[in-house]
């Protein structure tokens, strides 16, 4: 096992050892959303013809869980070991900034995908899934998880205290996910809010992911892929730069 693989393994084991809290809890949260919104809105909202609201909701909830958990994993792991001081064990090693990047982004992507898969499996009890273009499902899940995992690395390095990280999560990550079309189609919004939504990169992740299930979407999946892919590249460049210069972890 090379250095980055060991760090990746350690990070996966870290969340897996407390999987009740890191996997089971977010699955339960997503299922509660499905039960409540599905029950209330099933007969009132029609997004795509021939697709029930509950069926429409499933991919959005799965993606939301993937994104939030990928972010939570890298950011909380980094800030915990910064505050506990145990980050020093990694800082003393020959691990390169690329090794750190691969391990944190990789392990957090795994956590996002595991939670997303868990949510999806449970929702099978409520709606029969379609798989119009499975490759798109996989591509957007992977890319979305990696993007949020990378954002988590940046937030985890930047934050000095837990409440700063919570603010980042509550005021940036959660609103951007909720306003990205998890619970509705952007097409149902007034033109102004449609335009605003098109500026939110989270919209393209969820829209592209949903395309994989239904073969229908608000934007072209290729456009979504371009935007999400570019966003990930930009965020990755920043994260690698911060790791290389030891931002807030080496004085």
């Amino acid at each position: 096992m090379t250095g980055w693989q060991m760090l990746f393994y350690k990070e996966v084991l870290r969340f897996w050892k407390v999987s009740f809290q890191t996997v089971a809890a977010p699955v339960l949260t997503a299922v509660l959303y499905l039960l409540i919104f599905g029950h209330v809105l099933e007969d009132h909202v029609k997004v795509y013809d021939s697709i029930s609201y509950t069926a429409f909701l499933v991919p959005g909830l799965v993606m939301m869980s993937v994104l939030q958990n990928a972010f939570a994993n890298s950011s909380s792991s980094l800030i915990q070991s910064k505050i506990m001081g145990s980050l020093v064990f990694q800082l003393l090693t020959p691990l390169s900034h690329w090794a750190w990047f691969l391990a944190y982004v990789g392990s957090s992507t795994v956590r996002g995908l595991v939670v997303g898969l868990g949510v999806f499996v449970v929702t099978l009890a409520f709606a029969v899934p379609q798989f119009a273009a499975p490759l798109w499902i996989f591509v957007f899940a992977l890319l979305g998880a990696a993007l949020l995992a990378t954002l988590g690395v940046i937030a985890g390095l930047w934050a000095d205290k837990f409440d700063q990280l919570a603010a980042f999560q509550n005021f940036i990550i959660v609103p951007m996910t909720f306003l990205s079309g998890v619970f509705y189609s952007i097409a149902s919004l007034p033109p102004f809010w449609q335009a605003v939504s098109h500026l939110n990169p989270f919209f393209y992740m969820i829209d592209g992911f949903r395309y994989g299930f239904f073969g229908q979407s608000d934007a072209s999946p290729w456009l979504s892929l371009g935007i999400v892919g570019t966003a990930w590249l930009v965020v990755s460049l920043l994260a690698v730069h911060l790791l290389r210069t030891g931002y807030k972890i080496r004085s």
Binding site: L7, S86, V88, F89, P94, R250
Partner: protein, 310 residues
């Protein structure tokens, strides 16, 4: 004296932190070489820059000026090779609460690219008296046990150079004995050891050579035996409840009832006792002892001009 590359070479190392009150010079032009196989002590009062110097060596901080080489590898430009040669025991008692002792040691091996390390891990565990704690979670260990794990973590990759930053701070006598026995053995086997400590009797007993830091500068650097030789030969020690005459009070080291006065020779001692008698000071438990490293340390710190230059 030697024709080989030093184990560690600090070359004009300076470190300046910017603070709200202006720049703070933690280190100002520190230069010193530690030779292969040495047991080297780095002493100084709190805030002298010992931990900053070690942090720069370990890659936890970056020098503002100057450079540090570990067996010829620059700690910044060639950090991966430099860090492979170092085993650093951090000062803070830190641990990862998610894992047990063996897991922590396996991870640490893996970060250094060492595979299948269980034989060496088992040897470390038994040498440090941790064999029965291998599967205990880090949270369940006492402070002393956590300290031993820190030492084991620093040694998983068999580094030629061992750096210990105040390893015995707040540690009980038994662990100190175990630890020094083990570190002395590693030194005998050829490992270079760099130690910072507040316990001067430990430094005197273990270190062949010593550097003293004050306000970020080296104020003394010599073989321990030479430093001891340079000090006043003897110390007059006694106990008293009375006030000392001003002339003696100025040069005395007073700890509660215990008074210590430096004395070069018998005449000095005679002189001190006469002054005490004259002042009517009632003294008990009078003894004369050889000057030790603490006396050297205090006289170096008192006379050194390593003042803060802002």
């Amino acid at each position: 004296m030697h024709g080989f590359m030093p184990a560690v070479s600090f070359q004009s190392v300076s470190k300046t932190y910017s603070t709200p009150k202006g720049p703070f010079h933690a280190l100002s032009g520190v230069s010193l070489d530690i030779e292969e196989g040495e047991f080297f002590g780095l002493l100084g009062p709190n805030g002298a820059g010992k931990t900053t110097l070690i942090s720069i060596l370990a890659g936890l901080a970056r020098a503002t000026q100057g450079r540090v080489l570990v067996q010829g590898c620059d700690v910044h430009a060639d950090y991966a090779n430099a860090r492979r040669k170092l085993g650093v025991v951090p000062q803070e008692l830190v641990f990862d609460p998610f894992f047990n002792v063996r897991e922590a040691l396996r991870f640490q091996s893996g970060y250094f690219g060492v595979r299948h390390n269980d034989d060496w891990i088992d040897e470390l565990l038994s040498s440090l008296g941790l064999a029965d704690k291998a599967n205990a979670n880090m949270r369940q260990l006492s402070g002393g046990m956590k300290r031993r794990v820190l030492v084991a973590q620093a040694l998983v990759h068999k580094p030629p150079i061992i750096v210990l930053d105040e390893p015995t701070a707040g540690v009980d006598v038994e662990l100190r004995q175990t630890l020094w026995h083990f570190i002395a053995r590693l030194n005998k086997e050829g490992h270079t050891v760099l130690l910072t400590t507040h316990y001067l009797e430990e430094a005197e007993a273990l270190c062949g050579r010593i550097a003293m830091l004050k306000n970020g500068r080296v104020v003394a650097l010599d073989r321990t035996s030479e430093l001891l030789k340079a000090a006043s030969g003897n110390v007059l020690v006694f106990k008293t409840d009375s006030t000392l005459p001003p002339a003696l009070a100025a040069q005395a080291r007073v700890t509660g009832r215990v008074v210590q006065l430096a004395a070069h020779d018998a005449q000095d001692i005679e002189h001190h006792l006469a002054a005490l008698r004259e002042a009517g000071v009632d003294v008990q438990d009078v003894e004369i002892r050889r000057a030790d490293l603490e006396d050297v340390f205090l006289s170096v710190m008192a006379s050194a001009t390593g003042g803060q230059t802002a």
